[in-house]
């Protein structure tokens, strides 16, 4: 039975608030290097993870935060891990791209496409040791051009593995538009490899939930893998401090140091004038697209679920306050731990 709208809303809201807190910590310099958030894909994750029960496995990529938050991993452990603290989820050894929770059979990888083979292995172990259990692979559409992911779809089909391949398609492979580097149709591709395949609006948690239910039932009953192709938007781009978004949001500051070398490169030597003009045109197009996408704003999955709620505004405010407090407590605990470390 489909859970109440509040249950799914709470999951998405919690992930969103958590990631907003992480963004602040990142901005303040508490978190080093790259940070890839699940912001914008909450509906996909919530709609899928709601079906996950103990013994099911999660093969995650570099955006593992939302699935782990929604599986109930302790928020403070996650933040401490992001901050590299010894009392983090992985003792500060993994960071946000390499999160592991053996209790949840959840493993992440920062290698694009690696969640495919990982899910196959989890599913193979389920066939032996935990019949009826499944493995979920989360990845983006950029990963669909990785050999290992295609190989794993074939393996999952050939062995009837209980795998659910969840493709979160935001249309951008890092900063490259996916349609420029992808041949054919992803649904047909998955079907060609023997998986059931379905396309859906990844900003609608209820649509995702229903599609995922079918996929989970099929997998649990031995019907083999399903490919869920869900569209979404990443309002923060590929990672915090996304280079294209920085340019379109603060063009004067960001372009100051770039324009002179770009112009010099485009006006001296190299290929023919027309080829160089074409390159410059492409760069302008690329920035124009990023700017347009940024201005349009995302169809926000969290906002979208609000009208579905059957509770009063006051009840919603209570729910949100409760989640906010949980997130704040986790942040405070992590900062205390960092301070204690000296």
């Amino acid at each position: 039975m489909q859970p109440s709208a509040e249950v799914l809303y709470r999951q998405m809201y919690k992930s969103r608030r958590f990631e907003e807190a992480v963004t602040e910590l990142w901005n303040d310099g508490h978190i080093s290097a790259e940070m890839h958030l699940s912001k914008g894909e909450e509906a996909i994750v919530a709609g899928v993870v709601d079906h996950v029960t103990d013994g099911d496995a999660l093969a995650l990529e570099h955006r593992g935060t939302a699935p782990l938050v929604m599986r109930g991993v302790d928020l403070a452990l996650l933040i401490k891990e992001f901050m590299g603290l010894e009392d983090g989820l992985c003792r500060g050894m993994g960071g946000h791209m390499h999160l592991f929770s053996p209790e949840h059979l959840a493993a992440s990888s920062g290698i694009v496409g690696a969640s495919g083979p990982a899910a196959c292995g989890f599913a193979f172990a389920a066939q032996h040791l935990r019949p009826g259990k499944v493995a979920v692979a989360f990845f983006g559409e950029g990963a669909m051009n990785q050999g290992m992911l295609m190989e794993s779809m074939n393996l999952a089909s050939a062995w009837s593995l209980p795998v659910i391949f969840v493709c979160k398609d935001n249309g951008m492979a890092i900063t490259t538009p996916s349609n420029e580097v992808t041949g054919g149709d992803l649904l047909k591709r998955a079907r060609g490899l023997g998986a059931h395949a379905i396309s859906l609006d990844g900003t609608d948690v209820n649509e995702v939930w229903r599609a995922a239910r079918e996929a989970f039932v099929r997998a649990r009953e031995g019907g083999g893998p399903t490919f869920l192709h869900a569209t979404c938007v990443h309002p923060d781009g590929h990672l915090l401090g996304d280079p294209l978004l920085r340019i379109v949001r603060k063009p004067v500051r960001e372009l100051k140091s770039r324009v002179a070398p770009l112009m010099k490169a485009a006006t001296t030597g190299g290929s023919s004038l027309s080829e160089k003009a074409a390159s410059l045109g492409s760069i302008v197009d690329m920035l124009g697209r990023a700017s347009k996408a940024d201005r349009q704003g995302a169809s926000d999955p969290v906002e979208q679920q609000r009208p579905q709620l059957s509770i009063s505004d006051a009840q919603r405010a209570d729910l949100e306050r409760e989640v906010d407090a949980e997130v704040q407590d986790a942040v405070a605990a992590a900062l205390r731990s960092k301070e204690a470390r000296g």
Partner: protein, 336 residues
């Protein structure tokens, strides 16, 4: 006395382990045919043929082991690890570190290695130095049936990823399948003591990381692994006829490396000759020189290794691989 072939010993030890532990599964390319006996005994669920798809099934082996199985995953040839090496380098090897020690990947990657039968440089490599360089991976290379069985048991029992390499000149079915193909008119320089030999009445695991001194000698220490161990023993016999006492150490394991055994011997002899079928540069042989220097031992050093792409032509192949003549020449350079 009980004797077995090299391949028979591996199968016997593996069969015993699989009979005792239902978590052990074998999967990889062609396992229904190359592991026919295991398939017949344990069935489809435990001996499963994969697509020719190294990235997928090596990656799957990692998480299968994380989720409670003990996979022995078959690569046919270690050359093909290059196709799916991400699973080993970025996943299996990193798991224990990344998870803060909370999760491990008890998996065995089994593959053939080595040359000497004319298959060319894409199917005859050793690559153990390349793999051993990655922290978190263990690499074992047995040189005889007793070690082959014992090391297979310890590889399976190990809590982390172990790469188990069997030399094609030692395991008869590789030569039969890849080289002879039913013909009887071709010759290979197969070391008899490696291809068949005494084995224990019951298999016991041999600790990974313990080298074995096969021959004592006070003038010179030869350190080697795999088939080259036998070339060293032959060279040592010839050297003894000329009054030079050469010791031979079989490393058996590349990672971890038994540095104590090497240093103990070289401290005494002051001469180290590494004979390694793997590539010369940035390698096991270079590592051994560094180990001896780091220990503060003053020693002369020489090495006989593969230096370039292994030629297809069998005459040139024989010159490219470590052989007795090259070992004797290198040893003579150390005597002065």
């Amino acid at each position: 006395m009980k004797t077995m072939s090299f391949a028979g010993a591996i199968e016997d030890a593996l069969m015993k382990a699989m009979s005792e532990d239902p978590r052990i599964v074998v999967f990889g390319e062609d396992v229904h045919s190359i592991r026919m006996n295991l398939f017949a005994k344990f069935g489809e669920m435990r001996v499963r043929s994969t697509p020719i798809s190294e990235s997928a099934f090596l990656g799957a082996a990692v998480t299968a082991s994380m989720a409670g199985l003990r996979p022995v995953v078959e690569l046919l040839m270690i050359d093909f690890v290059a196709v799916g090496v991400d699973a080993l380098v970025n996943h299996a090897a990193k798991l224990e570190g990344f998870s803060g020690g909370r999760w491990k990947a008890p998996m065995v990657v089994r593959a053939s290695c080595g040359g000497g039968y004319g298959d060319g440089g894409q199917h005859e490599q050793s690559l153990w130095g390349w793999l051993a360089q990655i922290p978190g991976l263990k690499v074992v290379v047995p040189s005889n049936p007793a070690d082959a069985g014992g090391l297979m048991l310890s590889a399976i029992q190990d809590e982390g990823p172990v790469i188990y390499l069997e030399h094609k000149l030692l395991a008869d079915y590789w030569i039969d399948g890849l080289a002879d193909g039913g013909r009887t008119n071709l010759d290979y320089d197969i070391p008899e003591a490696g291809a068949r030999g005494e084995v224990p009445r019951t298999w016991e695991p041999i600790p990974i990381g313990e080298a074995k001194v096969l021959r004592d000698g006070n003038d010179l220490t030869m350190v080697s692994v795999g088939v080259s161990v036998h070339r060293c023993l032959e060279a040592a016999t010839q050297l003894a006829e000329h009054g030079v006492q050469a010791g031979v150490i079989d490393l058996r394991s590349i990672a971890p490396l038994d540095t104590d055994a090497v240093c103990r011997a070289v401290e005494r002899t002051g001469r180290l000759l590494v004979v390694d079928e793997d590539y010369k540069h940035f390698s096991l042989s270079g590592e051994l020189a560094a180990v001896v220097m780091e220990a503060g031992i003053t020693a002369q050093f020489a090495r006989v290794c593969v230096e370039d792409t292994i030629p297809f032509d069998r005459r040139r192949e024989a010159e490219a691989l470590p052989n007795v003549a090259r070992i004797l020449e290198a040893a003579s350079g150390l005597r002065a």
